[in-house]
Structure formats: C-alpha cells, structure tokens
Point group: C2
Chain length 797, copies 2
Amino acid sequence: MITHPSFTVEPWSLRETELNLDVLAQSESVFALSNGHIGWRGNLDEGEPHGLPGAYLNGVHERHPLPYAEGGFGYPESGQTMINVTDGKIIRLLVDDHPCDLRYGQVLAHERSLDFRSGILSRTARWVSPDGRTVRISSQRLVSFTQRAVAAIVYEVEPLDGPTTVAVQSELVANEQLPRVEGDPRVAAATESPLVAEESFAQDTRLRLVHRTGVSGLRVAAAADHLVEGPESTRWTAQCEPDVSRLTVTADLVPGRPLRLVKFVAYGWSGERSLPAVHDQVDGAVAAAISTGWDGLVAAQRDYLDRFWAGADVEVEGDAQIQQAVRFALFHVLQAAARGENRAIPAKGLTGTGYDGHCFWDTESYVLPVLTFTVPDTVPSPLRWRHRTLPAARERARQLGLAGAVFPWRTVDGAECSAYWPAGTAAFHINADIAMAAVRYVAMTGDEEFERHEGLDLLVETARLWRSLGHHDAQGVFHIDGVTGPDEYSAIARDNLYTNLMARQNLRAAADVVTRHRERAEELGVDDEEAAGWRDAAARMAMPYNESLGVHEQSAGFTHFQRWDFDATPPENYPLMLHYPYFDLYRKQVIKQADVVLAMLECPYAFTDQEKERNFAYYEALTVRDSSLSAACQAVLAAQTGHLRLAYAYLGEAALMDLDDLEHNTRDGLHIASLAGTWIALVAGFGGLQRHLKDGRADLLGFAPRLPEALSRVAFTVAVHGRRLNVDIDQTRARYRLVDGDPLQVLHHGEPMTVTADEPVDRPLPPAPVLPEPQQPRGRRPAGRPSPEAAWTEPQD
Amino acid sequence: MITHPSFTVEPWSLRETELNLDVLAQSESVFALSNGHIGWRGNLDEGEPHGLPGAYLNGVHERHPLPYAEGGFGYPESGQTMINVTDGKIIRLLVDDHPCDLRYGQVLAHERSLDFRSGILSRTARWVSPDGRTVRISSQRLVSFTQRAVAAIVYEVEPLDGPTTVAVQSELVANEQLPRVEGDPRVAAATESPLVAEESFAQDTRLRLVHRTGVSGLRVAAAADHLVEGPESTRWTAQCEPDVSRLTVTADLVPGRPLRLVKFVAYGWSGERSLPAVHDQVDGAVAAAISTGWDGLVAAQRDYLDRFWAGADVEVEGDAQIQQAVRFALFHVLQAAARGENRAIPAKGLTGTGYDGHCFWDTESYVLPVLTFTVPDTVPSPLRWRHRTLPAARERARQLGLAGAVFPWRTVDGAECSAYWPAGTAAFHINADIAMAAVRYVAMTGDEEFERHEGLDLLVETARLWRSLGHHDAQGVFHIDGVTGPDEYSAIARDNLYTNLMARQNLRAAADVVTRHRERAEELGVDDEEAAGWRDAAARMAMPYNESLGVHEQSAGFTHFQRWDFDATPPENYPLMLHYPYFDLYRKQVIKQADVVLAMLECPYAFTDQEKERNFAYYEALTVRDSSLSAACQAVLAAQTGHLRLAYAYLGEAALMDLDDLEHNTRDGLHIASLAGTWIALVAGFGGLQRHLKDGRADLLGFAPRLPEALSRVAFTVAVHGRRLNVDIDQTRARYRLVDGDPLQVLHHGEPMTVTADEPVDRPLPPAPVLPEPQQPRGRRPAGRPSPEAAWTEPQD
C-alpha cells in the first residue's frame, strides 16, 4: 500500500512523475502555493478529482460555537475555522463534450513539478478521453511574492491525434462542495457553505465574486481576467451566478495549434471595508497583474527567490534527499511567511485546513528562528500580529485572574479557541515563546524601533503575566504551578522546567528593555519596583532537579512517576494519545515531544555539558515523538552531545515529515514547524549555531560544527546585525566567510574569533565526545538514513 | 426578593400556606413523591402553571451524543439523561368552560402539605374563576411504598357560591412540553420529545399509553383507572391520541355536593420485555390498586412509614426547625431508596432532572450509611445495581489500561457519562466508596450471603483496580498518581489522602474477604499471591504529611501551593467555579468540599486526636463549601474536635440546603446526599457514632455524644446486627437502650460497655476540649442557627 506520493530526488525541485489518486490530498499539500496572504492547494486545474479543494486567505475564518458536554468558567465559547474561500484556480476542460476528469478515460502521462527557484508549479499531462481523443494539457501556476493579491495560471490544451472541439471553463467558485466533516452539526454548518453572496459579475473576459462570511462578517472578493490565444475559431462568453462566475472559451483545435489561456486572479478581504472598496481593490490588482503580464510575474518571482536563496540556502553534500528536503522546507517556510503582513503564520501555513488554520506557539519557537537567521525582514509581521492582538490577550488575562497578557493557545484572530484547557490555557509557555521571539529578532537585527514599540509592549505584558502566575514559597523560591509544558503527555504540573526557564528569560529581558526605553516603560506604568520584582522572580525561579539521578526534572516530581510500560506497547498503538487516555499518559513518565530537550536548546547557558548529556540520555529513553515538533530538537541535542548518527537520523525524520507523510496527515496541510526544524537540525545541530546571552541579550553567535560521517559538506548563511555570514563545514574544518559588512566576532567551539569580509577563516573541528548510545523507548528509534555511508544500523536489543 | 418557598415549622409535616409562582419549581422538588421506582414532582394537579413538570421511572433514560470540541481517547461518546416519562398526575379542571389556571382569576387560599407519617401530599385551594365563580379544590396524592408500580390521587371539586358546570380531565400525557434547554441541539433532541408512541388506549374509565424511547429503546407503559363519585348529572367519556389518553368527567355541581375522582395510576418499563407483557403488567397493577382501594393504599402507606420511623426517627429538642428538617430529610432519603429494586439511587433521587438523573459516589458515601443504620434492608438493592454493572466497569477498566473494574463517575445504566475527565474518570475514589459501602453493610448486618456474592466480587475487582492504578517507588512506598479526590477544586494530583486511605481500606477488606470465602475467590482467580500484593500495597500506602505544619496534605505538595486570595474574593463570586477557571482553582490552596476532613470521617482510626484537631483547623481555613456535600462532614469533625457551636451551624446548613434553597438549585431536584448529611451531622456528629475497625471489619460501634448548648436533647436509633439500639442524649448524659435482641457491646467515649434489652444504661458526658475557634475563609463562616439559645455569633474580623 502506498501511503504517500513518491518524488524524484532533485536538488531544486519536487517532481511527481505519475498521478496516484489514492494520495491526491497529500500531493495537494506538498504542491501548495502561497505567499503568506493567498494559499492555493495543489489541486488539479480541472477541480476534480480532488482530495481537499482549497483556496485560503490568511485571516479569513468563520466562527462557530464550541460545544462542551460539561462546560467551565473561562472556556472559550466560540471556535474559529479557516474557510475555503472563492476558488480561482479552477479551469475545467471539455474534450468533444467529455469532461476531462482523470478518473475516467486513460492517463498516458502525468507530471507535476514544483520549482523552488522559480516558484512555479508546472503540470503536463496526456490524456485519452473516454471516446478515444488524445490531448496534451499543460499548466503553470504561481502565487506572486511581489504582487501580494495576485495569482496566475497559464493553461494550454492541444489535441494530439486529430481535430477536436474543446471548451475551457475558467471559473471563480464560492462555497465549493467539500468532503463531509463528521461531528457537531454547528461546526459543519460553519464550514460547509460559509460564504453569503454579495455580488456576482462576468463580462467579456472579466469575472468577479464578492461574498461575506455569515457570522464573522468578513468580506471576501476575488476577480479574474484572462488572455486567450487560440485559432480563429476561438470564441468566449462569460456568465455568472451568485456562487460562480465563469468564462467559457470554445475552439476547434488541430494538433500543433493549442489553445492557451492566461488567467490572472486577484483576492482581497476585509472585516471593515465596504463592498465597493473591496470590489475596486481586486479589480485594480487584476489590472496591475494584466499590465505586468505573465512573463513579468515570472521574472519578478524568480528575482524574489534568487534573493531569498542567496541568504537562506543550505547546501548539503552526501545526502541528496536531505538536500532536496531542506530546500523544499525553506521554500514552504518562505511561502508561509513572505507576505502575511501583520497576520499570523498558521501551523499549516495556507496549505490545508489542519488544526482549523490556527496559529500556535510553533510559529514563534520553530518558524521565526529560521526566518530571523535567513529573511529577518519577514519576522516583524507575525510579531506585529501578536502585538495587534494584545487587547484580546489582556482581556483573556483579566478573565483568568492574571496580570498582563495571556496569548491564546490556538487562534485565527487572537481570541482563544482551545477547547481543552489542560493542553491549551495551561500551556502558558507560549507567552514566553512570543516574547523571546521578539528578543531574538531584535538581538539579531538591532531593530531598535521594533524593540521600543512592539518589543517592549510584548515583554512588559508577558513579564507581568509571569509575575502574577507564579508565587514565592516560604523559602523564597519562585514557583509556577499548574501549567503544561511543550510535552503534551504531561499537564497541569508544578515548575515545568522549560516554562520556568523561558519565564526567567522573559522576566529578565523585560527588566532589561525597560531600562533602555524608560519613557515607553513609563507609558505602561512600569516603575523600578515592578522591574525589580521581575528580576527577583527570575533570580529565585525554581529549577526542578533530581539529585539522585543527576538530571533535571521535566516538572517537579516527574522523575518519581511510574515509567510508561514501553515493552507492553505495540507499534500500532502509536501515537499514544489515540490509544490511551490522557489520565494515564499524564501520570506516567512518557513524553510526546521534546520538553527538557527543548529547554536545553532554547536556554543552553542554563546547563553544563554534563547535565546536557545526562538529561538528553534520560529523556531520550522516554520520548516517543508523537509530535512532529520533536525530532528537530532531538537532532540538535544529539549533535551537541556528540551523537552524530542519531542526530542525522532525527534530521531525516524532521526533513521527510511531509515528503514521506510520516504522521499520515500531510493531506490536511504541511507541518510548517517541522519543515523549519529541518533547518534547525542542520544549522543548530550540525552547525552548532547558538546565541550566547549576556545580560539577557544576545551579543554573540557561536558555532560548534560537527558533521555525521555520511555528510561530506554542509554550508549555510545566517543574517546577523545586517550582515551575512557564510559557514561552510566539511568533515575536518569549518570555513567562516563574511559576505559583506563590518568584521564580526563569533565563537567556534567556544573560542572567540573575528571574521571579516576580506577572506574566509578556517578552523579545525574537534572530535566529538564518545558517550554511550542513548536508548529510545522500544520501537521508537528513528529510522536511519538509507544511503550506504549514512546507514543507521539498529543495535541489537 | 423571595428565592425559596417558606414553610411553617411543624414536627411531622411540611406545610406551604400560600402559592408563590416565582418559586414554584423549588416547591415541586420539596413536595415530590417517590418510592424509588416512580417519582412524581409536586406539580399542581392541573399541570400548569409549572416550574418543571416531572414524572420519572428509575432507570428510564435516553442517550445522546456527548459533544467534544477537542476529543480524546477513552472519552465517553454517549451521554444519558433521565427523561420525563408519561405524566399520570394531570387532572385538569374547567369551571364553566374556564380552565382552572392559578395564574388567572383569583386565588383565595392555597395550601399544600406533605405529611411524613402518612406519606401523603395534600392540597386545598379556593379559587375564583375569571368570570367570578368560586370553587374549592382539594387533592391527596401518594406514590405507594407497598405497591411499587402504583400511585394514586383523590381529587375533589365543589362550587362555593352557586351552581356550576365543571369538566374534569384526568390524563396520561407523554412528551409533555418542557422548559426549553439551551445548548447542543442533539442533547435537546434527546429530551424534548423522547417517547415514540406504541399504543394508546382509552375505554370507560381506563386509560393506557405505551411508548418507547428512540435511542435507548426502553419501553414505558402507564395505565390508569378511576372511581367517579358525583351528582346524577355526572357523565364521562374517554378518548386517546398517540401521546395522550384522557378521561373527561362532566357534572353540574351545587355547593355541598362535590365531584370526587379517585385516580389509580400504574407504571412499568423494560428494555427487554414485549409490548403485550409490559401492557399487561400495568393493567394488572392498576387492577390490584383498584382492589386495594384508596383507603387500603393509605393504610398500607401509614403502616410502612410507622415501621420506618420506629427505626429511623431522630428526635431533636431545642430547635424545632432542625427537628422538622431531619424528618423531611429522612422521608426523602427513604423515598429515594425504598423500592428501587436493583436500580441506582440518583443524586437527586427521582425529584428532578438535575445532574441528568445520574448516580454519583454520594449514594455510597452519604446515602447508604444512613440507610445502613436505619433501614438496612434497603441497602443491598443499590449495591446489587452496582454489581449488575460490573461488566461495564470491567470494560471501562480495560479501556483505561487498568485491571479489575472502574465504576463510572456518573451514569444511569452503568456506562460512564462524565465528559470532563479531570473531575470524572480521575476521581477513582468512587471505586473504594462503593466497595466500602458493601463492607459497611455487611459489617453492620452480618449479611454473609451478600458478602459471599456481590460483596466479594465488588471488593476483588476494586482491589485489582487499586493495585494496578498505583505503583511502588524506589523506596517501596506505594503511590497513586494522577487522581482527583472528593474536593473538585483540585484535580489530577499525586497521593490524594482520602483516595489513598480508602484504597488502603479497600485493599485490606478484599484481602480479608477472600480468606473467608476461598471457593468464591478461586472462581475469580484470586490466589494467595494476589491477596498478598493487596496487603503489601495497603501497608506501604503513601500518606502525604507536611512535617513542618504538622498536618496531613490533601495530596502530595498541596500545602506548598499558593493560598487562594480569599480577601480579594467578593461574596458574589461564590461558587468559585462559576467565576474562576479550573486552571486557577486547581493550582491553589482552596477547597470546594471536605476532602481530608472526609478522610478523617471515613477512616478515623488513621488519625490521632491531635492530628484531627490540627487538620480540621488547617483545612477549615481553606474550605469554601461550594458543594452541598461539605457541611455535613465539617459538622462531624467540628463536633469530634469539640467545636460544638460550629458543628451546630454546619448541621443547620446541611439540614436546610433544600428547605432554604441555599444553593439556588433546588428547582432541579433535592440534594439527597445533603439530606442524608443531616442525619450524619446529628448522629455521627453529636452522637459521635463511629465504627471501630478490627482487621478491616467493623466489630464495634462507638459513640462519643456531646450536644451544643442550644439542643437540650437528641435521640436516635441505629440498626446493628439485627438489633435496634436507641441512644438518647441530653446536655449531661447519654442513655443507651437496646430495643430488642441479645446484649450488645458498644463504646461510650472510648470506654467499652454492654447494653441489654432489659434496662437502659446512662453514662455522663465528658466536657469538650477547649480549642481555639477554627477560622473559615473570609465570608464563608456558616450562618448560625437563629433561635436565641443557639445563636451563632459572628466573631469580630
């Protein structure tokens, strides 16, 4: 049984050489195009067959009641679901009156390819219709990085075996019929036909639909215009109904003389603006796209991506699949973030409706680090979105009886949508994750303006939260009780180590930032006493540690729980949360995803090397990786503690999460954070990238490069203080090269050195420490990489 | 604003002297009649106005999907709701074509009275119709204790100011329209019109309806027959439709010549039996009732209650309201339990739909102790019901990965219906509560046959649960992690003291019982090794204790949590769970209901007197009594630790929970456990009743009587080993008198003594220890009793 599509291994593209209808939904996710504002799943041009049709606009959602069989105070009443907006990618084809549907007739050839350098999804197919007519179909599709509201398609059809009459229907379709959703009828109602028609237009080659969501009241407009090239027989008409606007082009074709259609689509939405305003906005965007033309859009797209790759590319030698995977990953991370413009980066980007299109903590903890070091100018936008939602977060804090701001665990518009508080509201660490993403961005870019405004607000409000959430005990130790850390197989614990460490950083960074911007701090009513309270709480923060085991505790008492009985857990019972109740998972030593390990990644200065080694080994034996967020963190700590083969295996898992559909849910959208984790595993793992804090601010970048046997070379570039530093690692040395700018001090395996733009500096790689191989829970050892020199051999049990 | 009905204070009845429509629903609950099989709320005869119409049959429920915005493994998918069955109590009246509806016209007088000795609800009214005609209406209603399927009504109407034509419509009505329920439409669908018509019959004076529930598939039949007495003009006809069967009696009346109708109603239901079988069953029951006649039913009811009161009455001198309240309480406890016959005793009995008609742990922990000491022959039935649900409980244990049986937190038919697992599934203590209720019953009655069968099964399966739920740590201490104790403001804790102590008793009792019934134990596969494992776990059970405070911990680490900020909590924010999120309640020292205090009540031998005093004072300061289950336990421990005035105040709270509607939800049904708590507060509190365990079995009853100043006398009778012991306490001495049977050894304030049936034994009361007054959270001191000699003075803050 094939459960995921298979692709050829190529350095700069993802190519599928035949169509497998069983895994169509997965391929729609990996071939999704987006610019962070518009998202188009990789659906076939003709609309059907499909796994999940999808056209999304960042922020466009519908609300629905959240049902509780037993409610509670502070439970969010309203959920939000990203909806499928007007679909502008549909181009249906009739060949002699036979609709082109690849489930019927015969597919002679079918190839799709996503080019990471051009940003174009190409498709070619040869198809024999049920009555025997053979046609060639080709299309190219882009969602523009440079014209944010615009997407475009070139569509060509040509008969191969004689004259044919074709009809091509290019459409805008609202309220597309979706695969049926089980469950609460009120939730289904919110997503099944979410759009109410406001305006429908079709004239000459121009189409337009304007709709409004029923409850959330968002106005969504889509417009299209077309260029048609074909033989003299070519004719077209345009028609519209409330939910469809359609251009129908007919032509009598002969081999060698294709019909070619260029479709320019523009989108706009607003919760505030009037119908004429939104209507004009999309018409204007289409007109601009027509004026730029297809070739112009293609050239601009290429240019945009050339600049991106110059700063972001990671070269990997020795494992062609990883080389491809990291570029696939970076391309999709860019697509999720490029033009969001003060909107969230959802967990699935705009590639599918998984997690209802919600944004979680992984944006700040996994995606933003990668963007900060590669395309830092994309980072303020998602953080400004968080900043824009501060009023909702302050209101949520007030509702929970806390000071400052409490950001939602999952949301589209800033309101909490998590309906299970032990793994939602209680996961307060998201607040530090957001605050420290702002600190990281400022530390790496020196963007003082951002720090003074958004940064300071985010830090102060989160510091206030932490101070009110925790309390001092009789000995003066500061505890944070009743919270849930990153590991979702534990909940409502005391002193989660990750949370406490992040809160400590958060409190210190807030205390620092208010000393740098006293006027703004005064505006927020922060005085020296308040800042002193933050510093004190940070200084006295509890750090649970089991002396007899010599390891940190994930939370107070964690190491005293019963160990999960891994030997009695058959492979088919993973992921555990689908086969065991939370009550049992929560009270045993079993870990869904990196928690202490993530703490060591995020706050490395808080641990000695020996503590890292012991902690890593201890938690490695308990971590089952039922979350896609885990492997990348484990890769980094495995690399840092010298377990390079293990790190390499985890890199493979993070990198192939979607390409190999490891969690069997790529159909719902890509795991953007795991894709970002591919970069993290390579750069923070094998590159050993680490920010070194001085008084809570990052002043120094360190590297501790070391490659696994299988990789002969890894090279990457990081943005730092407006400069670009290239690091090129092989088995014996690392070469540091400043692409531009003033000399830069960095650390190489702890030793300071200065890199200039004049000439590269080479440093030898020290040998890795030799430590016993950490053990994973039975059956949860990561699959090794298949290449012979990288073979990950399963030790005997 | 009157928020509860007001009643005259009388020793043997509850009398309401005027009708207050604002609090109609509350009065319907307190005037509800039941025999544990049939429940009729105290609705007005004519059906409207009503607060909540209600006719219930123990066990008749409908299923509905349980909605989860975020589901989880092991979450129950199906909920159950007790439904309003065919209403047999409706007798509508038309006076010269004007329907008698007390919202219109003028009510000259209206009195209702529930007599605890006759078991009859009487009503008299004088009403002026909108066109000026005055009538007297009277009715008497009973639900028979002796003929389980039968209820009966005598209804009389008489004009007072001249000739009148009346029509009386006596009905059986299915699918009565109920007040609208908000929330999930699928749940509303399950309760709004739950009955599907199968048969409808009306002939002469006989009526019958047979229905079936849509999803749970339970067949419900009701039949009625009538005796009509009136002037010669009296005529009647019977008619039926699918949901109503109706006898209409018309008569031309003059003053002094009333129309009198006697209505006999019979109910039956089955999930298995055929329509003819159920149909015959109710017809037969009605025929038997007609044969007994109204006077016969009344005499049998009186006789049944005379025997009940002989064994159960508690006499209280010095506080007439408490005297009334304890009889009201005992009457309703009896009504909930009398003829359930292998069905549950729901939390609200059959007095309303609160908690969906579910049965919880309070049946075993509050209701069964009272029944065990007063009407012990009612106790096996609800325990046999638990025993009958063992297959479902074993299946639930299997689903949760545990051994033995896991009883549901809330249920009608034995399947778990709790949709919030931290306060449902995690509250494992219910399993020990059930097991120890069986042990208590056997210990007090010597019912070996019950012990050998139901008792042994319940003990073995729960012991297996505890052994698998807990684990030994490296030092060999046995811990039970991740559970929730009685206090619902804490959850998912380690080593809840109450749970651990009850589990310890449970494990020991199981190990004991298998040695007494080795053949039956072998049938269950229990060998000596397994029993030894139970004894070991019991012996090494963790008992969390804070050495520096010198108090037991409610759960491990509880005393280290931050204290709830009671000073910042305004009175209107109670109950806290309606104003603060669980996340905050769970992580702070704040207690909804007795937990350690309940542990000291249930397992007194585990604590020294000094520990009891310190624990009581410590937890008293944290307990807000947002549960009706708390006051009675606090009364007992207050009395045991010498705080007699405080105990008296808590007795008042438990006793008046429903009569004064202290929690503002008596409209949904009575708090049967709190009613039982009235007896517990008096008998275990001021009587100091305590079972003294020897090797896990109760061999000895102890008393430590002591009265608060305000009470001059408390006397009660307890059933013990087939005998009845009367204890009569005044301010200076206790008099012990054996009503019948062989001499009995008991303890008086710890000193052994023998009581014989020949003559009473007097013993002086030692003075109470003098200890500082415990403090409650600000504003949560219980209201004192109002009588001058019992004045509970608020100390200065």
